[in-house]
Symmetry: C2
């Protein structure tokens, strides 16, 4: 088949122009005599790629000068393990608000040297909403409060209709996993102590992550840890304490540049609204043939799980979607059903094609 | 310029056929409708890529069934941080033999929860040799003995002329950083408890590492640590506890297949002998115009540092090399001078071209 509309949750669709650039660059970088993937990370060619990527990301997200940007191997789960090591003293309490699968994963990365307090959890309600801010049991003097800005499996996202886009946590810094919603809208970075994201949804290929951290937090002692796990050491070495994943970094840089060229976060905010409205509209307007169970106030604009009224239709739905050039729609095994991930690289036309297919499928099977 | 002979130490040259395959695959994987870099790591396409890569690596290296193979994000330095967390109980002693820069780096990844014993060090002698095995002060009951099979900066490698290829450590398992020499010759895996390697020298692109571990060692409790840092958890999840660096894994798989097609480790052993003999021969036969200071018994076949008698010639040498289509020869800042890294992807003809250039340069400047 030709390239399809790819609704995979991550690794996810990349802009075709980025893939074509990567293809053109694969054998040789300019006139350097070697591919960018074969060149020293400390050579002038890659150093320029890295610096450009950071500058573009800072422009894209509006990162203030008093925030450092790290590009590190691994994904969000690795970052979740490093947060307590870097920012929580032995014996400190860390507050976690759990609104889905990835919030629970974050908890599993804590070591016994810190005390985890689950300040709020959406689990009793099947992760279909986000507990109201005034119900959170925050710990005075906690090392940080951790949230998951968007939950890719449960399709739950902090949205304006819930209340604040970034919950108020007073003097305690707010740490947020933005893996699946970063760069989908303008955000106020200063509301956060740390923002981190695996690249494989909105920022590029899997294998690299971005950590944006208020510099003053790097003065915290944290836990005894390996040098390679020390964010301060990484910053002092330009995220090159060891050999970084250069190709992944280069690819993320191409995606940053593409997002800027397309109009930046205001434009992706607009497109995300349009795409989500189309898809939720189709689900809600199906008379129950399709169903999404998330509280409308916190419905994700990035990952939209939905269920067919009859499970027996699932396999036929997926086969037909594939034939229609729509792939990656199978839901996560935790929930079953379907899930459409519509990150920045998914054009509005892709969602229109999905909606048309859903309506046609309903006519044939409804 | 056209593609040059690339002597970079890592990221390093990849086989051109591998880059061409990656280029061909970039927009679409077979008829899947998406690039391999855009597809779910749990989908059938990538699962097949991953399984094939492991099977090929096992064939290439002769990995016995009682050894697990992990494919993990990050490089050797991350592995160095995870070894004590996974294999040393709190308070245990770990023995390190330091034969260059990377052995020292490994020490910096230890936490205070273990006691590090430097059993032997080549540092007093400028890392120009490897201390004889009978001088090592090993700790009875140590959690493990750690060595660096090949030091990329100092150009020091455990070779048969030194004594045993894998030093005898009795009941204490031997852990070895094989980042820069893995797959350059047949080795007896059973002599090691753990072998680990960042991919970016002999195995593929940077951003993924391989850890080969005797399964019984995974029963050790180790230190309290995040789930993502637990090798046992990673093994239980097929190295997919989180989203793995899929493109890097795919590329490593292409390199494994290329090495098998070329004749496997016996053939690369033969080529490494030939390439190293050519280059050391040129250095030693230059009457002092070029110099390598390493004890011939432990001279690396992978990384050959050398110095021009006159430092003033360095820049001219590098410029001329570049014009001759020979790149990546600048020495590491720790040592200065030159360094030729001649991993498996460097053809014998590349070393011949370098030797011809060196001899010509000497004629013009000697």
């Amino acid at each position: 088949m030709a390239r399809a509309y790819n609704f995979a949750p991550g690794p996810a669709a990349l802009p075709e122009s980025v893939l074509k650039q990567a293809q053109a660059d694969m054998l040789e970088w300019g006139t350097a005599g070697a591919s960018i993937v074969e060149m020293s990370h400390r050579g002038p060619e890659f150093m320029e790629v890295a610096a450009r990527a950071e500058a573009d990301l800072r422009t894209l997200l509006g990162v203030p000068a008093d925030y450092a940007v790290l590009f590190l191997p691994g994904g969000a789960t690795t970052a979740q393990a490093l947060l307590p090591l870097n920012f929580a003293a032995p014996g400190a309490t860390v507050d976690y608000v759990v609104t889905g699968h990835w919030g629970k994963t974050a908890l599993r990365q804590l070591t016994p040297a810190v005390t985890a307090n689950i300040a709020a959890s959406g689990e009793p309600d099947g992760f279909r909403n986000i507990p109201a801010r005034d119900t959170w049991r925050l710990t005075p003097g906690a090392a940080y409060v951790h949230i998951t800005a968007n939950e890719t499996i449960h399709g739950v996202e902090y949205r304006p209709a819930w209340g604040e886009p970034a919950p108020e946590t007073g003097d305690v810094p707010l740490f947020a996993d933005f893996s699946s919603s970063i760069a989908s809208e303008p955000i106020d970075i200063t509301r956060y102590g740390v923002i981190y994201a695996g690249a494989q949804k909105n920022l590029g290929p899997v294998g690299i992550s971005v950590v944006i951290v208020r510099r003053e937090l790097l003065e915290r002692t944290g836990q005894p840890r390996a040098d390679i796990f020390n964010y301060g050491s990484q910053l002092a070495h330009d995220s090159m304490l060891n050999t970084p994943p250069t190709w992944n970094w280069y690819m993320a840089g191409l995606v940053f540049r593409w997002m800027l060229d397309e109009g930046g976060t205001p434009e992706f905010d607009r497109r995300s609204d349009e795409k989500a409205a189309l898809l939720y509209g189709a689900i809600d307007g199906s008379g129950g043939f399709y169903r999404n169970d998330v509280d409308p106030a916190v419905r994700s604009r990035m990952n939209i799980p939905f269920f067919l009224a009859e499970d027996a239709h699932n396999a036929v739905f997926l086969d037909g979607a594939r034939e229609a050039g729509l792939i990656g729609l199978k839901g996560h095994r935790v929930l079953g059903g379907m899930r459409a991930s519509i990150y920045n690289a998914m054009p509005v036309d892709g969602v229109r094609a999905l909606v048309a297919y859903m309506q046609d499928f309903q006519k044939r099977h409804g």
